[in-house]
């Protein structure tokens, strides 16, 4: 069996989700299975070794000046060409903004199935991939199979699977792909003009040991500062729910946790003024320790908290900050 991973790149190397996809591919692979990685872009050759050190047996590298910025027209055509040539059984793609665009494009071009935002993958007795996906904001989990079509395709959010351990010396083959023919054989409709990268301020949510998240119950911008201050003294990251973004308290959607945001597994999650909408819980349910502060004793989030504080956060959080502050 061939298990492939889309080796998405960022400005400074492979996207973090690639290590996680390769980790999962390694877990699924049996003795004679081959793990492939598909690397598309410009000046990506160096990343091929990185993919090998993360467990890829073979890396297909397609590079060209025209591939510098992600463009679904070019990327999907190259990927499609490779899939038709090499016939992988499984293709795993990160559910990032670009991966989430590339995967359905590719699946439609191939006429195959695609399971979105998988949280668990297994090979069943028939050799088919069983994909567990959330629906209704994660309230319901469903098994998805793609029995009659190949490849079986899945997207996976960053932070869901364990990254593979990096090997010091990887043994893998780099296969360079001639993209000239693929890129010449169609009428381009989309031109990627420019890419803007805004480095995130503060600690990235996915990497923080402590996440302090605030929701609708925070009530105003002034009190939102308490969330930020607590995150700072804990050397943690700030998370939020949809209302905190809509109200403009949180800096943006990149801080959102849940179905339409990030999936996190910090050692400690502290939820403040968050009632526990299904969409949010789906993104933080696997945190090590969950601490919730809410004045509504009936808040849903309490049902899944290790420690519950039924109180006005304005009475507790300033004290916490004070006690944790370095004077």
């Amino acid at each position: 069996m061939k298990i492939w991973v889309y080796a998405e790149q960022k400005a400074d190397g492979l996207a973090s989700v690639v290590a996680e996809l390769l980790g999962e591919a390694g877990r699924l692979a049996q003795r004679n299975d081959e793990i492939g990685a598909v690397l598309i872009g410009n000046e990506v050759e160096g990343m091929a070794q990185e993919a090998i050190s993360l467990g890829a047996d073979r890396v297909y590298v397609a590079y060209d000046n025209n591939l510098k910025i992600y463009n679904n027209e070019t990327y999907s055509r190259i990927f499609e060409y490779l899939v038709r040539r090499e016939e992988p059984d499984i293709v795993l793609v990160g559910a990032t903004s670009t991966g989430g665009d590339l995967a359905p494009t590719l699946a439609a071009r191939l006429g195959t199935g695609l399971a979105a935002h998988c949280v668990e993958l297994e090979i069943n007795d028939d050799g088919n991939l069983v994909q567990i996906v959330p629906s209704f904001g994660g309230k319901v989990m469903a098994e998805i199979l793609c029995p009659a079509h190949r490849p079986q395709m899945a997207t996976i959010k960053p932070g869901v699977f364990e990254p593979s351990a990096r090997k010091s010396i990887g043994s893998g083959e780099v296969v360079s792909v001639d993209v000239g023919e693929v890129l010449r054989n169609y009428q381009p409709q989309i031109e990627a003009l420019e890419v803007h990268y805004r480095p995130p301020s503060g600690k990235p949510l996915e990497q923080a040991e402590v996440v302090v998240a605030g929701g609708w119950g925070i009530g105003c911008q002034e009190d939102w500062q308490l969330i930020e201050d607590l995150a700072t003294v804990l050397d943690g990251a700030i998370g939020c729910t949809r209302p905190a973004v809509d109200e403009g308290w949180a800096a943006g959607e990149h801080m959102m946790i849940g179905t339409s945001g990030k999936t996190i597994k910090p050692k400690v999650y502290i939820g403040i003024g968050i009632s526990g909408a299904t969409h949010h819980l789906c993104g933080m349910k696997d945190a090590g320790t969950i601490i919730s502060i809410n004045k509504d004793s009936k808040a849903t989030i309490f049902d899944m908290s290790d420690f519950k504080v039924v109180a006005d956060f304005r009475k507790i959080v300033p004290l916490l900050i004070q006690k944790l502050q370095v004077n």
Partner: protein, 274 residues
């Protein structure tokens, strides 16, 4: 220049009620009784974008939905916002469709209804949240497509400059029309429905087409025509045996600090620590 715009919309169970969804213990099917159906929230942004473009360029905004007949109520909400006409693609044979089979039916409806310069969709639905349909409708129509769209600038030469959001920034594309765009909530603020808008709804045509009207290939529609097949469904148990922290705010804060430590967090406590 006139711009003919189609907006694909979806009725979804109201996300505020998702914690009420259960699975029937015997039939193992979803129980969603008492959960209201609403217009998928981000679809309103797609309609809004269509209406704004129509106001600037002239043309029309037509709605498309693959849904059961009851979706008429939801379609009327879109018409009340200001869309001109609607097409309900409805047939028992469409049931159980995955994103590819859904996109196939939508693409047939769009083709049959006329020529559109721009097809807009909400980037994802609240219920399935796959975000796959915009790109797949684009592929099946043979139109260029982009998703995560947070800015659309249509130029008079039938191209558009489109900004799509990424994790840490954005990408700007130039895309030739006809095109399919999956729009994000950050694109605009949907208008409120006016009384005049509501009054005008009954004059607006809603056309219903089934599989036969669309001359759909039976092998590509519904559950049978879907490459992905559903297996078991279950409600994961995410509840924890929780402990309530009580006492004075001071005692509660100390207890939280104690539990942070126990969880393996290194804390730097100031001189105020008790």
């Amino acid at each position: 220049m006139t711009l003919n715009i189609a907006v694909c919309i979806k009725p979804v169970p109201d996300p505020d009620y998702y914690d009420k969804i259960q699975i029937h213990p015997k039939s193992k099917t979803l129980v969603r009784e008492g959960i209201p159906t609403i217009l998928n929230p981000v679809d309103k942004n797609a309609i809004e974008a269509g209406l704004q473009l129509k106001e600037r360029f002239d043309g029309k905004v037509d709605l498309f939905s693959m849904a059961p007949p009851t979706a008429v109520e939801i379609i009327r909400q879109g018409l009340a916002m200001g869309a001109d006409a609607a097409y309900l693609l409805s047939d028992r044979a469409f049931a159980g469709a995955d994103t590819l089979a859904t996109s196939y039916v939508l693409s047939l409806g769009l083709r049959k209804a006329g020529q559109y310069d721009l097809v807009l969709l909400g980037n994802e639905s609240a219920d399935g949240s796959t975000g796959q349909v915009p790109a797949q409708v684009g592929e099946l129509l043979g139109f260029a497509h982009l998703t995560n769209v947070e800015e659309i600038e249509v130029e008079t030469n039938m191209t558009a400059h489109v900004k799509t959001k990424t994790e840490n920034g954005f990408i700007v594309y130039e895309i030739k029309l006809p095109a399919v765009l999956g729009v994000a909530r950050t694109l605009n603020k949907p208008r409120y429905t006016s009384i005049t808008g509501i009054m005008a709804v009954h004059k607006k045509p809603i056309t219903t087409w089934g599989a036969r009207d669309l001359e759909a290939d039976p092998a590509k529609i519904g559950l049978m025509g879907s490459p992905t097949q559903p297996g078991e469904i279950f409600v994961p148990d995410i509840n924890r045996e929780g402990e309530e922290l009580t006492g004075t705010p001071e005692e509660i804060a100390d207890a939280i600090i104690k539990h942070l430590r126990a969880a393996g967090i290194t804390l730097v406590e100031g001189s105020n620590a008790s």
